[in-house]
Amino acid sequence: MSEQVGVQSSSLTERFPEIILPDSRTGYSGFLVKPENLVVVAQALRDEMGYDYLSSVTGVDYLPENKMEVVYHFYRTIGGGALVLKTQVDRENPVVPSLTPLFPGAEFQEREAWDLLGIRFANHPDLRRILTWEGFHGHPLRKDWKEPFFEEEAKPFKSRWPEGHVYRAEDKNPFHDNLQYPAGFDPEQWSPETDELLYAGLKRVDKSDDLLTEQVVVNLGPQHPSTHGVFRMVVVLDGETVVDLKPIMGYLHRNHEKIGERNTFLQNMPFTDRLDYVCSMSNNFGYALAVEKLMGIQPPERAEYIRVMMAELTRFLNHIFSIGFLLNDLGAFFTPMLYALEERELILDVFEAVSGSRMMCNYFRFGGVARDIPVEVMEKIRKLVFDRLPRKLDEMDYFITNNEIVRGRCEGVGVLTAERAIALSASGPVLRASGVAYDVRRADPYSIYDRFEFDIPVRYNGDIYDRYLLRLEEMRQSLRILRQVLKDIPDGPILSGKPQYQVRVPAGESYGRVEGPKGELGFYVVSNGKPNPWRYHVRAPTFINLTSLAEMCRGQKIADVVTILGSIDIVLGEVDR
């Protein structure tokens, strides 16, 4: 894989000899480009070299060098490794040209970089705060920004151990709460944030030559039974038809990245569980891969098999759960969900037996997994994989797939074409249901996925029904992988080296990505050799998949919006982080 990338990179430096410089810092890879040349290079990458998929956009605050860096990860949808492009600007008033006109999938990610790091993207169509709110003071991921409960730059805090002078965080704050305001701030002078900017950005249709009817703005959420959590959509309606839609998130923004940069590397593992809280095992997987890449270690054979086993069980669990939810959204209230949850409980029993917790498994370690699988649990998994789960899957297929209402409401609704899916950086089932056979497990194999026989299911209509069928088929393929894992799993150690609380991570950057059940889950980690990551960024698949929500919904009926959202399968813990 690296050779292939090498060929491409030399052609890139040949194409832009003056403009592009290889990133020569130790532990870093990719290319540095000046902000003014960024758009030209990105266009050439897309149109001439086939890097049509902009996976991740994020910023890094290099405070000691007084630089802000924006990092772009480009991929080809035909597979292969990443091409990493970086551009550096001054920390004071950083402005970078926006790539949203070229790669619409960058829209939310650039808004996030603006919100959290204060990097302004010129030419961005809608540069508003996304995870915090308009009016929030400062840009929290900047290294000199301190949260109200700030204690020290990095953990472990001296107050905890070994001295152990523990105090309540509230005691040191003048408000005795998690609050801070700019000096001289007067709350009575504050005019509360209104959504005017948001409403102004919504499109309306021109109806001057038609019957003049009012176009209504409707807010769905954040407390709404079918938004899968605290998610809000603002919809412009012409009658029942959706004219425009804007998703609003951040209602569950838990500062994952800020906390992650204070934590030590290992302390982040349990936090990744809480990203996509339906499938914690896959989140562990991505983070473990990213850090292992930096550390240069390889887990032992048995651990690799256990990891794949857990990731595939998680995929099954997530997909059956999401199908249950989709049916909920279609109006089949809770009955299909009960069938789905029955299987979920059985898989959670396995997770509890191996990791000690039902949902927040915290099971992976750098270089292996935390505990071995007991013999009787292995037997349980075997029974599930060979007997129960395939049977229940067929049952679900039989009940739902040809149901007249399901077909009537799902076929041809919420269509996303292949070209748009790639442009909008959609991933996972959303991308594959639109006819793009892109699965990280095959396109850029990690762990031991190259040893197993399995197909990447693809559907071509890009509607809700195809997303449903694709998930069904993916569960079959997961079971196929699981059968091979159970047949081949060797005995042996489950962790390379001794278990340790503090890992030594050499300086450098790494991007670990896995095909999570919801799409490409990536972790971008920058280490400067200290016990804490300098930058810790999560490329959350559902966050980026939501970029295409508006496009899928335009022209559909309001009742279908809920179903379309269900078919994307979002989890707010991951969207908002």
Binding site: F175, N178, P182, G184, V230, L252, R262, E345, M360
Partner: protein, 220 residues
């Protein structure tokens, strides 16, 4: 709960009538009916909501406790299960939902985050416990609490309801209760009840900054 346990001691009912007649106090019968028909609001915030759904499903099945009717509208609910991390962006809505619930109303803080901030307490947009804004009846520890823990929380709430008296509950007083003022999103979350404190601290800091040599960071 049969009529036997409803009957207040001291009143002898002939054995043949014990299954039909109970002599009891208003408090007792009120609490008895109240606690056996709690309607939770269908309201999920984060990870704990998934466990709440798990509790509603077949293995744990909280309809055994008379609470199978989950209502998405606060107007029809009398139990709010705050299931997950409460963020500053969400708390205005939570307070509004709480104000919209008809009395009598109860609140369960499910999980570490809702009880006190949990693992995300140090985060800049996390409210360190929903009880900073709305009164909580039962706290359930865990991250997330298992369905068994949630069921235990329900039973604890029922026990609490059993001990309430119509004379002392906050609803049914002479003057109606005030709604909780809805917090405002400013540079940070602002509780209208604390405007004076905010003003005072911020002006102090302004003075400090003016007297200090320039170029110092404003953050503490």
């Amino acid at each position: 709960m049969g009529t036997e346990s409803l009957n207040s001691p001291g009143y002898d009912i002939p054995p043949e009538m014990q299954s039909q007649v109970a002599i009891t106090t208003l408090d007792k019968i009120y609490n008895w009916s109240r606690k056996n028909s709690l309607w939770p609001m269908m309201f999920g915030l984060a990870c704990c909501a998934i466990e709440m759904i798990g509790t509603a499903a077949s293995r744990f099945d909280f309809s055994r406790f008379g609470m199978e009717v989950m209502r998405p509208s606060p107007r029809q609910a009398d139990l709010m299960i705050v299931s997950g991390t409460v963020t500053k962006k969400m708390i205005p809505q939570i307070v509004r939902l709480y104000n919209q619930m008809p009395e009598p109303r109860y609140v369960i803080a499910m999980g570490a985050c809702a009880s006190g901030g949990g693992p995300f307490k140090e985060g800049y947009t996390v409210v360190a416990g929903v009880d900073k804004f709305i009164p909580v009846d039962v706290y359930i520890p865990g991250c997330p609490p298992t369905p068994q823990a949630l069921l235990h929380g329900f039973i604890t709430l029922m026990k609490k309801i059993e001990t309430q008296s119509l004379r002392s509950v906050p609803w049914y007083q002479k003057t109606p209760g005030e709604p909780i003022p809805i917090p405002i999103l400013g540079p940070d979350l602002m509780d209208p009840r604390k405007f004076d404190l905010i003003k005072q601290v911020c002006s102090q800091r302004e003075e400090q900054r003016n007297t200090e040599p320039e170029g110092e960071s404003t953050h503490e």
